[in-house]
């Protein structure tokens, strides 16, 4: 991911800012500049999600792409936010505790880095809503 490409999405990644269609009431994260339901008739505006949701499904990644290799094993999950949309992120918890339906909340973490010399990417991961 190049610097401008990350920078363009930084507010979204830091603060879970997605979009809301004020026409159909749909909530979208990741953000979309067109409502997939109303298409051109929709009216999308930025929307900040609370950052609370639950685990829909998950995996523990043991074999990762190069940029993530030093973080294995890590939990990758699909999370359904309370407002409705689902997103992909990591869950930081004991690997024995993760389960489908687990309530989670957002946390600010490093997503990765280009190299030892390069840019560091920050964004939103998730932690258990209630400490086990």
């Amino acid at each position: 991911m190049s610097v401008p490409r990350f920078w363009r999405r930084l507010k979204n990644l830091y603060n879970l800012i997605g979009t809301h269609c004020s026409k159909c009431g749909g909530y979208y994260y990741p953000p979309r500049n067109m409502c997939p339901k109303c298409r051109r008739n929709g009216l999308v505006v930025p929307f900040k999600f609370k950052g609370v949701g639950e685990v829909v499904t998950f995996t523990i990644v043991h074999s990762a792409a190069k940029d993530f290799a030093k973080n294995t094993p890590y939990i990758l999950a699909i999370i359904k936010l309370d407002e409705g949309p689902r997103l992909t992120s990591q869950v930081i918890c004991n690997h024995n505790d993760i389960h489908i339906g687990m309530k989670v909340k957002s946390a600010f973490r490093k997503l990765g880095e280009e190299s030892e010399k390069g840019m560091i990417y920050y964004g939103t991961k998730f932690v258990p809503l209630i400490d086990p």
Partner: protein, 346 residues
């Protein structure tokens, strides 16, 4: 002074390593280290945590605790000796991540372990002068100790954020006083991964001289004595130094007890003293008077006299307490610790 603390927030990573586990690797005698340092375990950051993520989590807790509108924050200063970037501010990330951008000034501070309290002083000036409505001062570190070095037993991870302003205070800062000299007791050169230190030289000419000078200077200026305070916090690179300096100055063990977090946390450097203050605010009652003196190698001390207001009871429980952050730790072995701290080069 009509300025003080509007809110505060702390963050401590979940992981800990016990002193015994480190001593085992280097063949050191754990019990003599425990006696010498009065540190039982220290916090360790997760693989994806650094000073920036810790500063952001602490800042978010501070914002949430008092329901502060981030748009009111006109300055953010983050003190740390482990900023992830040598050039590129930690504070810009914090500002963006708490939604305080773009109408504010930010900068990163460095003064060994007292950069965070220097940030509080800067915010006090800006807030009291009316240049900013609110200022945020953060002390956060993922401090480093070279493998096998004495520092490895204490260098921990954590951060604390204070929102400074003039209204809706939970604690009024009556006065602050600093004492600074050029004393090379501890340093880290540009590009070097681990700090160097002067061993026992860090004690008398460093810590004790500066802490006692700043503390007595402040009490003299405002005409207070140790018995006027309910609580006191001194920079805590280990458990021994603050206990000894308290005794020298005439503070009791009871006064320093709530703020002495180092035995279970380790030294969070720029977060150290401020974490002790947060732990004290967690239990303080309206009207309580708190004395705090930070120390940063290099060297200098910042002393503060603080009076808690009625508002503390309204917002105290709206963010996690230091005690909560210290509870339920996950212990790790030295190998995992080395991986987390980047001591294993990939």
């Amino acid at each position: 002074m009509n300025v003080g603390i509007v809110s505060y927030g702390a963050y401590i990573p979940h992981y800990r390593i016990k002193i015994e586990e480190i001593a085992k690797v280097w063949g050191d005698d754990a019990s003599s280290i425990l006696d010498g340092l009065m540190i039982y375990e220290k916090s360790v950051p997760d693989m994806d945590e650094d000073t920036i993520t810790i500063a952001v989590e602490a800042a978010r807790h501070a914002i949430n605790r008092a329901g502060v509108d981030p748009g009111r924050i006109g300055a953010i200063f983050t003190g740390s000796e482990s900023h992830p970037y040598a050039v590129k501010p930690t504070s810009t990330v914090v500002a963006e991540a708490i939604g305080a951008t773009p109408n504010l000034t930010v900068a990163d501070f460095e003064f060994a372990c007292k950069a965070g309290t220097a940030a509080i002083q800067a915010c006090m000036g800006l807030a009291e002068s009316g240049i900013v409505d609110l200022g945020m001062a953060i002390g956060a570190d993922v401090s480093q100790g070279a493998p096998g070095d004495a520092l490895e037993y204490s260098a921990a991870a954590g951060g604390v954020a204070y929102v400074i302003g003039k209204n809706d205070l939970i604690a009024n800062i009556e006065s602050t006083y600093s004492f600074t000299t050029d004393t090379p007791d501890f340093w880290r050169r540009e590009g070097m991964p681990y700090p160097e230190h002067g061993g026992r030289f860090t004690g008398e000419p460093g810590y004790f001289k500066h802490v006692t000078s700043a503390a007595t200077g402040l009490m003299k200026r405002i005409g207070t004595k140790p018995s006027d305070y309910n609580y006191a916090i001194f920079h805590q690179p280990n458990g021994k130094f603050p206990t000894r300096v308290a005794k020298i100055l005439g503070f009791s063990n009871e006064q320093i007890k709530p703020g002495l977090v180092v035995p279970r946390l380790g030294n969070t450097y720029s977060g150290s003293c401020m974490m002790g203050l947060a732990a004290t605010l967690d239990i303080a009652k309206p009207g309580d008077r708190i004395f705090m003196t930070a120390f940063g190698s290099g060297a200098g001390s910042d002393a503060f006299s603080i009076v808690v207001t009625d508002r503390i009871d309204e917002i105290r429980n709206c963010a996690p307490s230091v005690e909560k952050l210290l509870s339920n730790p996950i212990y790790m072995d030295y190998a995992t610790y080395a991986k987390h701290k980047g001591k294993i080069k990939l």
